[in-house]
């Protein structure tokens, strides 16, 4: 049947067009889109064949099916389903429609077979996701959304430039291994690097994600960054530089996460930390490492989505997610609390939870590749992620001191989405064979052995012990209402201040020159009084000018 062979982005785009026509009560039907499309992809993936479209003089390949794209295809369907279910109570059409198109664009991008198709969906990802930020409808959200869009479009422009240059050099548009070599590949690398939140290019993420709507952030956390990981895995596997970038990405955000007050911003920093593990895996480039990176992307979408959902539920009910003003919410939001704990255990890689079975692959690959000191950095980051995402998020939101807030439990659809995500976290963690059977490369990795389980438990329990000890000693930094300066200070504070100063200087210069001019003008002889004099004078001057012009014209002819 031809309908079953359509590229998966088409049902999402079509649903986005039709959704506004549905009556409000029938909008839950939108949940069938990811379910049917995902099942179709899972059951019929052999019957899909490459779809080629001719665009200008280029052959575009809309549907490239291999194990890597299939894995991300499944993942994006699961993420779309969870996020749509989570925002079902929202009456704001803008969010649901842009969420649908956004998810569809991610699917289009991950099945892209050439760089032009990738570019088109890459830009669609940017243009559709920004509405999820603007839908918050606050001044902060609108300016953060604009900064987000500038970054995303910059990434798109770099991708286009890289594509054009790459085509000129190789006559190939294939979205395949490129390797870091020459300007074209660097442009592509930077384009992917922006969306992957490489250090110094990461501030769009920590700036915008916490400003999006409670439900919008769940969409945002799933697609853009994972698409960048996918693109890096396609074009730059085994690039040594990525190992160092990834290791840096795992470490620096955790310091920020410890002192950050906005709990969704804490999660945004820990998202960069998790991306770091994936980037490391891609940089190592062995089958085990790439599998680890892809598996970790898969798990991260689910557990990070789950954590963003729990914080979204708190934001929805309380109106803010400032650690300094929360606490004691377990009393009236017990289910959300449990789901948050499951998400926290998964991201911290507790045995039997999903993070454990994928993060350990990257760690093992790191040792195999001989990067012992970087492995120590990753181990530090693993302890740190437990500290800030595993303990800090549930502790300050749901326990800690009683804030006196008694919000209602989250709406049913939010609870359902969190429940499904929690079940997935536990099932994947307990039966990793399900996940491993989908992995693109051959491997025979066993996550559960006595060494592994014991060492991971020791690491986590003693990290927790450090938290308890620091708290008892009063050394733990209290949650304070504050912002912390990051790289975005450069363009949000320093550059505006500098340009304001330059503008002041320029306007002063302008005033001075006007003054100078008027004083100079005042010194000119006033000719208006004697009219006869002025006429002769004028005639003389005009003659002089005409002679001069004649001379110049003559010169021009001669030369």
């Amino acid at each position: 049947m031809w309908l079953a062979e359509l590229p998966p982005f088409i049902p999402f785009y079509a649903a986005a067009l039709l959704l506004p026509l549905l009556p409000v009560k029938a909008r839950w039907l939108v949940l069938f889109v990811p379910v049917i499309s995902g099942l179709n992809l899972y059951l019929n993936n052999e019957s899909f064949h490459a779809i080629q479209v001719t665009f200008m003089e280029f052959e575009l390949e809309l549907m490239r099916i291999d194990r890597l794209s299939l894995m991300f295809g499944y993942l994006f369907h699961i993420a779309a389903f969870l996020a749509l279910l989570f925002c079902l109570h929202v009456k704001d059409l803008l969010q649901q429609v842009s969420g649908l198109v956004y998810a569809g664009s991610a699917l289009g991008a991950c099945f892209a077979g050439d760089l032009i198709t990738l570019f088109l969906f890459w830009e669609m990802l940017a243009l559709t996701s920004v509405w999820l930020i603007w839908a918050r409808r606050t001044p902060q959200a609108s300016s953060a959304g604009l900064r987000y869009l500038i970054y995303q479009v910059l990434s798109g422009v770099l991708l286009l430039a890289g594509t054009a240059l790459h085509y000129q050099q190789t006559q190939s548009l294939a979205f395949d291994y490129v390797g870091l070599d020459g300007l074209a590949s660097w442009l592509l690398f930077l384009a992917f690097g922006i969306k992957c939140a490489f250090p110094f290019l990461h501030t769009w993420l920590t700036d915008a994600y916490p400003e999006a709507t409670p439900t919008g952030t769940v969409f945002l956390s799933a697609f853009t960054t994972k698409m960048a990981v996918f693109a890096l895995a396609r074009c730059f596997p085994g690039t040594e530089l990525l190992v160092y970038i990834g290791a840096a990405m795992t470490c620096f955000p955790i310091f920020y996460a410890v002192i950050e007050n906005d709990l969704r911003r804490v999660l945004a920093y820990s998202l960069i930390n998790q991306l770091g593990f994936m980037v490391c895996g891609i940089g190592i480039g062995t089958a085990l490492a790439l599998n680890g990176a892809v598996a970790h992307a898969f798990n991260d979408v689910i557990f990070k989505g789950l954590l963003f959902m729990t914080m979204g539920a708190v934001l929805h009910r309380v109106g803010h997610v400032n650690g300094s003003d929360l606490g004691g919410l377990y009393k009236t939001m017990p289910k959300t609390t449990w789901f948050c704990i499951v998400g926290a255990a998964s991201i911290s890689a507790f045995p039997l939870f999903s993070g454990f079975v994928s993060k350990s692959m990257v760690m093992a690959a790191m040792i195999e590749a001989g990067h012992e000191y970087l492995w120590l950095m990753l181990l530090f980051a693993s302890a740190g992620v437990f500290h800030h995402a595993g303990i800090k998020i549930p502790f300050f939101a749901f326990f800690a001191h009683d804030s006196g807030l008694r919000p209602k439990e989250a709406p049913v659809n939010m609870l359902a989405a969190m429940f499904i995500a929690s079940v997935l976290c536990i099932v994947i963690g307990s039966y990793p064979a399900i996940l491993y059977s989908l992995l693109p490369w051959e491997h025979d990795y066993q996550p559960y052995d006595i060494t592994h389980t014991l060492t991971q438990l020791q690491l986590l329990f003693f990290s927790a012990l450090a938290f308890v000890w620091l708290n008892k000693q009063g050394l733990y930094p209290p949650e304070l209402r504050s912002v912390n300066l990051d790289v975005d200070w450069l363009y949000r504070k320093a550059m505006p201040a500098l340009s304001a100063r330059i503008a002041v200087k320029l306007s002063r210069l302008n005033a001075q020159s006007a003054e100078l001019f008027s004083s100079w003008y005042a010194k000119l002889p006033d000719n208006r009084s004697s009219s006869s004099y002025s006429i002769t004078q004028l005639t003389k001057r005009m003659t002089a000018v005409l002679v001069l012009l004649l001379f110049l014209g003559f010169l021009a002819r001669v030369l």
């Binding site: 377990y330 530090f380 060494t451 014991l454 620091l470 912002v483």
Partner: protein
């Protein structure tokens, strides 16, 4: 946006309101830490990297890593922390209460 439940539930005593429950949980936690620490001397761990041959390497590393992390982060606060409305000061009118309620129309 604060959807506060009726005051009759306010008098309920919840699990962590009782100090003995907190104490119990902490004791179980300390006990597990001790068990994991001691297990390290009895279970034969596979050693991949030479750092790991230090007895109880993972427990020590986890503890020290987190203490160092927090102490450095506290120092970072001295340099990097600003007022909550630091960025809003120069940009256009800050709104004190962002309306997080999803619009209903």
């Amino acid at each position: 946006m604060k959807k506060v439940t009726p005051p009759d539930t306010e008098d309920r005593v919840y699990f962590f309101d009782k100090p003995e429950n907190v104490r119990l949980i902490l004791r179980v936690f300390y006990f597990l830490c001790v068990v994991l620490f001691i297990l390290d001397f009895f279970v034969h761990r596979h050693i991949y990297v030479y750092f790991e041959s230090v007895p109880t390497f993972y427990a020590l590393y986890g503890f020290v890593a987190c203490v160092v992390l927090v102490l450095i982060a506290k120092l970072m606060r001295k340099v990097l922390m600003r007022n909550e409305d630091y960025f809003a000061e120069t940009s256009h009118s800050p709104s004190p209460n962002p309306d997080n309620k999803e619009s209903e129309h």
